[in-house]
Amino acid sequence: MSKSVLRGLRAAALTGTLVLGSPLGSQLALAAENPIKLGVLEDQSGDFAAATIGKVHAIQLAADEINKAGGIMGRPLELVAYDTQSDNTRYQEFMRRVLQRDKVDVVFAGFSSASREAYRPIVDQFNGFAFYNNQYEGGVCDGHMIVTGAVPEQQFSTLIPYMMEKYGKNVYTLAADYNFGQISAEWVRKIVKENGGKMAGEEFIPLGVSQFSQSIQNIQKAKPDFVVTLLVGTAQASYYEQAASANVNLPMASSVNVGQGYEHKRFKPPSLKDMYVTTNYIEEIDSPKSKEFYAKFKAKFPSEPYVNQEAENSYLAVYLYKQMVERAKSTKREEIRKVIALGDVCMDAPEGKVCIDPKSQHMSHTIYLAKVGADHSISFPKTWEDIKPYWLGEAGCDLTKKDPMAQYTPSNPPPKP
């Protein structure tokens, strides 16, 4: 036998035998070289951390479950996570990094709407693919984005009419002063007007403000029937304690409290008494699916203070992504969007059945009305099933035909063709 043949045999022994000897091993070896990369940009420190650390944990939980069950099309899911520190410039920095350097297949990113609008142009520019797993003020019509969180037509058009019927038609809005608070307040204004009510007042609070004596007095002066609190971040959450100690004693309605910041767990009762929140998930929801999810979460993260709606949104988003990749047989965004366009991307999430709306790439949700009692226990006076994110589609956003990569509001709807 000549030397070259020997060398060839040795090379074959080193590389080829594995393939011939054990097909399973080769598959694993191949897969390990070729994972599906999922970028995770969430605030693990800073002002928003309390509400968002659970999102990272939920993504880890889903990824572990998927990897244990054999990955996505045999490829394992690899997380590339960065701490965005509740800082918009960090989002831009890390979004560039995951798209350009880490070359991830998909990014799960963002809590505040300010951070989403900071990174969204970068996703568009580098032709990336991002999931925003957070409730927000609605209106993002962008083919590069999938939104799994709830939007105003799901949270406000259920909540505000219920509150007006129960407590009265004079409404006061106290909102965080940035795009989320301003646009959400616009929605509240619109829905109050449509239902024959009147705005008793509105105040916008800069992020990071923690002292509310004057705002409390303004509210008492306006004498509303209930207060819509759209306060964001841990500093602004000081409002509830201060309002309770000044004995404001008005019912409150919100799309963000309890479901995100679990204020009912953090503050001493009864400061959140009579707070009504529309949310698509919180850990108190009493259904077998929800209990199962909660148990799995607690088993993996026993010290998690609360499993909130954004954790559930993030968890189900990983499974939705898996389903879409498997059906598209590709991680390419355009292939995945062809699957979305079929209009039947649905799953049984911990909250109930959810589906992606092809026109807006937003999600239908089961909306639970959560009421906080005097002892801070949660009850659910009402549930709305399968509420669709209809506004964008009705207003003229249709991503199956045209991708404007823009955000719209009731006062700034999509241009009519």
Partner: protein, 290 residues
Amino acid sequence: MDIATHVFSALYQFGDAFAFLVLSACGLAVIFGMMGVINLAHGEFIMCGAYVTAATVHAGLPLPLGILAGTLVSALVGVVVELAVIRHLYDRPLDTIVATWGLSLIATQGTLIMVGSTMAGVGTPFGSFQVGDYSYSIYRIVLFCAALGVLAGLYALFNWTRFGVLARATIQVPHMAAALGVDTRLIYSLTFACGAGLAGLAGGLYAPTMTLVPTMGATFIMEAFVTVVIGGADVFLGTAPAGGVLAVVKSVMTSWQGQLFGQIGLLVAVIIVVRVLPKGISGFVLRERT
């Protein structure tokens, strides 16, 4: 609604803003105003006081003792920080910015990692009272009284006690004080601890009214710095009038146009005062006097 209701409500809002400005600033007035250490970790001393207060109250201590514990622990942490870091940087004021900024990042992130993203609140004591159409929190009046008490205490400490005289002498002309037999290193340590303890006191007092999170110190820091900057070097003659002026501006602007304008008004007032009185209000008062 009659005049008395309006007057009371305006006074209450002024007192509330005054208490917040003075209590957040008094510790910094000692450390930055008097000692000249630009302490960017001031907010984290406040957070330390608040956390210790809440933890001891959860452990069963009554609130006043909890606040005392928060104050003392912050003062102790102040001693350690002074010995380990600040002591070596007294003649390098710009380097203290970097060092204390680093400390503040370590403290915030360390608390996040060790204690978690939030801590359960302790609830505001005392309830509320009614004047006209408005109801008010009694604890806010307590905070106002505490602010006045702290100012009086600081005045007494630095003007009437031996420690106060030694501290002022040491900081004014350290070599002369040392030549006269004063243990200047000890005095520096104690003064720094006093400032840190006052920050802890502010944290303890505000702990029942606020969200307890690792970043809570940041909500105090802007108010603290602007009060000290326009107050100038003297702890009492600076902080008290500065707190008064800024509280008027802030409460009037906030009640007129809301929180955003309250903040804008505060910062505009600071720019004007610093432009007109470069040595701060206390510099102006003391110059008039001499």
